[in-house]
C-alpha cells in the first residue's frame, strides 16, 4: 500500500463521521524506486491531505516532509523529491490501519489492505 492510497482511505463503518485519516501502524515496509514525474506531483498535490501524508510517512520513519505544505513549495526540487518519495516509493507490506473514531483495525497483508466490514458494521 502506497501512501497515496492511504491518503484516500477512510473508515466507512455505519455512523462514523471522522474516519479519516486512518492511523498507520506499519510493521514491514519497503522502498521501491520509481521515476519522478513533476507534472503528476503538481497535479495531485491539491487532492492530498497533507497532514495525513506527513503523519503516515512519519509512522514509517520518514521525517523529511514538512508539517505543512503549500503549492509554492512545488517549485522546489527538494520538496518534490521528498513528496514523491513519501507518496509513491514507500510501500507498507504488513501493518494495520486504525479508525480514529472507532479504533477499528483494518489489516494490511502483503501490501493489500482489507477494508471489508463485518455484518454489524454496515
Amino acid at each position: 500500500m502506497r501512501l497515496l492510497t492511504h491518503n484516500m482511505l477512510s473508515c466507512n463503518i455505519k455512523g462514523v463521521s471522522n474516519g479519516f485519516p486512518l492511523r498507520l501502524e506499519a510493521e514491514k515496509w519497503v522502498e521501491k524506486e520509481v521515476e519522478l514525474n513533476a507534472d503528476f506531483l503538481r497535479g495531485i498535490f491539491p487532492k492530498i491531505e497533507w497532514k495525513a501524508l506527513a503523519g503516515a510517512a512519519r509512522a514509517i520513519g520518514y521525517d523529511a516532509l514538512p508539517d505543512e505544505a503549500d503549492a509554492s513549495m512545488l517549485d522546489s526540487d527538494d520538496f518534490l523529491s521528498h513528496f514523491h518519495h513519501a507518496l509513491l516509493e514507500l510501500h507498507v507490506e504488513e501493518g494495520t490501519l486504525v479508525c480514529p473514531e472507532t479504533g477499528r483495525r483494518f489489516p494490511i497483508n502483503k501490501g493489500i489492505p482489507n477494508m471489508l466490514l463485518h455484518e454489524d458494521e454496515v
Partner: protein, 342 residues
Amino acid sequence: MSTSQSLSCVQGFHSDISLSSINLNGKPESKDSVSACEDLTCSPSVQSTPDIEKKYVHHVYDAIAPHFSATRFAKWPKVAEFLNSLRPGSIILDAGCGNGKYLGFNPNCFYIGCDISPPLIDICARRGNEVMVADAVNLPYRCNFGDAAISIAVLHHLSTEMRRRKAIKELVRVVRKGGLVLITVWAREQEDKSLVTKWTPLFHKYDEEWISPSSPPSRNTSTMKLESIPEAKENCNQGAKQSNHVHSQTIDDEQESKDGMVAASVSRGIRKDCLSTSLDQTEAQQEYFVPWHLPYHRAEISGASASALASGLAKKDDKKGAMVYNRYYHVFVEGELRRYGF
C-alpha cells in the same frame, strides 16, 4: 469536460452495445461526511451482502479466481477508449477490478483497484498494482479523490436495485467534480439469442436458500413469485453533487476462452418444484444463474472443489471434465442504467 446541461442520450439498439451518456447537474460539494447518507438508497441493510451474492458471486469467484483471471485478457474497446481519453496524471478508481485487467492500462495514469474477492486481489497485487479488498457498495474512500472511476461488469452481480443504485452513488461520490464514470454491465438483449437459453432463470425471492437438486425443499415454495421490478423512486437530482458523465454500456457475452464458459445447455430442472420458464415471463426475466465451467485440473489446484460439492454450490460435469459453478446475474434491460442515473 463538457458542462452542458442537456440530457443527451444515445441509445443504439445494437444488441451487443447500448450506450447512454448522462450529464449530471452539479451541486456544491459537501465536505462534511465521507459517507453521504441522506436518502433512501442508503439504509443500513443495503450494504449488507445478501446470501445469493455470498454464494453465487463471492464464493464462486474465490473458487475460480486463477482460471477466471486466465480468461480475462481481452480489453473491451469502449473501456480502452475511455481510459485512453483521460488526462495524463489522472487517478483512476476501478471498483470491482477483478483480476486487474484494466489497472495500468493507460500508463500515464495512476490506478487504485478494489474487489470483494481476496484471491482475485492477490492476482492483481502480484502484478504490481495498487489494490485492496473492499466492497463496491461501500467504498472505503473519502469523497472527490478520483479523476475517474470505472465499474466494468460489476453491477450485474448486485441482487437488488437499491444495492445497484448505492454502488453507482459510490462511484459518483469518490470522483471529483467534473470527473468521469464508466459503467458496463451485461445486457438482457443479446445478439446471439440462444445465449439466454444457456442461463438459468431465477424465479424465487432471494432470501430463500438455493436448494441443491438432491436435497428436499425446506420451504413451502408454492407461493413463490417473480421478483417484481423494484419500486425505488427515481430522482435525478437527489444526492448529485458533481457534473459527471456517466457512460453506461451494455455488452454482450464476455469474451472467454474455450475452456472457460463453455456453451452448454443448463438443466432447468435444478429444483424439482421449480417453475418452468413460460414464454411471456421470458421478456420480463432479468435474474439468472450463468454457469462457469472450472476444469477439474484447475479445481484440484484451487482445493475448493470438495467443499463446493458438499455444500451444493457446484456440480460435476464428467462429460466436460469440469466443475460447474453458477454465478448470479441481474442482466440489464435497455434504458435501465439511465433510470438509475442521478
